[in-house]
Symmetry: C2
Subunit: 332 residues, 2 copies
Amino acid sequence: MTIKDVAREAGVSVATVSRVWNEAAFVSTATRQRVAAVAARLGYSPHGAARSLITRTTHALGVLLPDLYGEFFSEIIRGIDHTAQAAGYHILVSSSHDSKDEIDAALRSMRGRVDGLIIMSPDLEARRTLQTLQGSFPVVLLNGGAEAKSFDTITIENHEGAREMTRHLIARGHRRIAMVCGPQRNYDAAERLRGYHTALTESGIEHEASLVVRGDFSELSGYGAVSQLLELEPRPTAIFAANDSMAIGALSALREAGLRVPDDVAVAGFDDIPLARYMNPPLSTVHVDISQLGERAAALLLTSLRQGNRPHQQLQLSTTLVIRASCGGLVS
Amino acid sequence: MTIKDVAREAGVSVATVSRVWNEAAFVSTATRQRVAAVAARLGYSPHGAARSLITRTTHALGVLLPDLYGEFFSEIIRGIDHTAQAAGYHILVSSSHDSKDEIDAALRSMRGRVDGLIIMSPDLEARRTLQTLQGSFPVVLLNGGAEAKSFDTITIENHEGAREMTRHLIARGHRRIAMVCGPQRNYDAAERLRGYHTALTESGIEHEASLVVRGDFSELSGYGAVSQLLELEPRPTAIFAANDSMAIGALSALREAGLRVPDDVAVAGFDDIPLARYMNPPLSTVHVDISQLGERAAALLLTSLRQGNRPHQQLQLSTTLVIRASCGGLVS
DNA sequence: TCGATTACTGAAATCGTTTACAGCGCACTC
DNA sequence: GAGTGCGCTGTAAACGATTTCAGTAATCGA
């Protein structure tokens, strides 16, 4: 069922069919209708690959993510898909790209299939690979590090958010505040940890290495980290997890240990995934509008596609403190 | 940076470059290395659209979903992406396709961009549209209804699962069991409701219309539904939600109403999303291996791509009861 | 020495579109 | 009645790859 079949059936040339389809140029109403009727009858729709070969545009955006697990990523995709779809674009998703090689491979295999890319590669090292892309291709970096001045980027106010949450905990009287931080070479994780340290320093609280344990952003790792923290003597009075998933794991571990939240231990997370408010107790967290993160990334990419060369933008998505019951309510 | 550039630079014909790239036919080691070197230096990678135009294969799977919100869908995508990626395929995602027209449009715009489709369209009416696809294109239906014998399908044991959970609640002594069911024309929702009714009938418990309230699978609707149920006199002693998200909303509403779970009201969900076990109290639910649902759908589609014509398969994914604290633990 | 085989390479057709260009009829102007 | 412009349509050249077919040089057996 190609354009030729339609042309033959309608007794016109392929050029005319194409013109009818694209509502371009001058086609007499008579032939327009005839062609449209034939196309409808035959159930014709143009072949995407052929079309994008000649028009040099695919109407698809590539999305490279490190993972797909958890509400954080699904919200991002949702945001991206939402604005992409509104603009008539599809999204080509590809996940689990941490290492340089994987990213490379993904990039190659996407050439000629997408008009631009949204890349979230929190791994600090993998970033360097991206430098090779520089300028050759429209790219938006999600949570790009500081070195990324040569791209459009959107970042979360990680440092500020973590600092504020830590300050809030301090204001509520906590001194032994533990942090469950994220993966080693992860940019977001590093920034959030830095914010925590900043707040401690500002309040003159000594940094105690044993209060910082590493997780990997999964519920299970939050659970494990807390088990470890509870061994400490004296134990921390507050636990700040670098994302909500780990905070949820933490809540679960505390409950099993027979500790009450927030009375015995206060808990806070980061991201404000949709479920945070439904936890018991509802989770205090640093709110990030995750789906908006995706939406704005897509929007940025789309304008960059339309406008061609223009200076790169560095957007920052602000965070707000959301105080719920898990850390004991608002300080007066 | 096309194949021609590489050919010119390496002093060979485009045919040879193509052969080197695809590791096909006989190419002397000398030219092979020379071409490979040039390609690497120029950073060449073939143009996807051009390639799929001639090979008539895109190495991409289309995924049509009704929505992207919540862990259920993200787990499905994760499963699909996992097996697709392992087979060297990309996935093209498109969401929010409920109505016939939207599905139509999505289908058209995917022609020539994907080798096959995974469609999840729980809306019963939209299904009829799909009939037009019949055989013309490799399709796997997720949660396809009974009418779908002309497709490969994977369904969840909705009826069985709901029946078992309801029976469990009955076995624990509950008689006033409320059901928060899903959207009106949703297949899964209808089946789960049917399972609930089956169990009631089997135990000779009268169906009470006011105990069934409608939700839309979101946390918020679960919250609202429970508020409504608590008005009843006497109030239900157990609440069975047609999915976990609504169960989570229910837990939240009960907590706010000052009711204890499971002592005052037992709660159960359906799906066993990853977070269910981390709720407080941990959520009893009907376990469905969601990511496996995606994995098997992708696998089914891939074999169908490879094997061409073969009888359609109807797979059913079994469910298991997962009894946690929210419904009072195991019955002795 | 010669024909046949083998190993490699290139020319050209092809996939399904879009689009620049040219052609053709017809009405209009002078 | 010839020239001009306009409105519509068709021809053919792209786009960037793959693949068939044919051609060439080297090697081999007799």
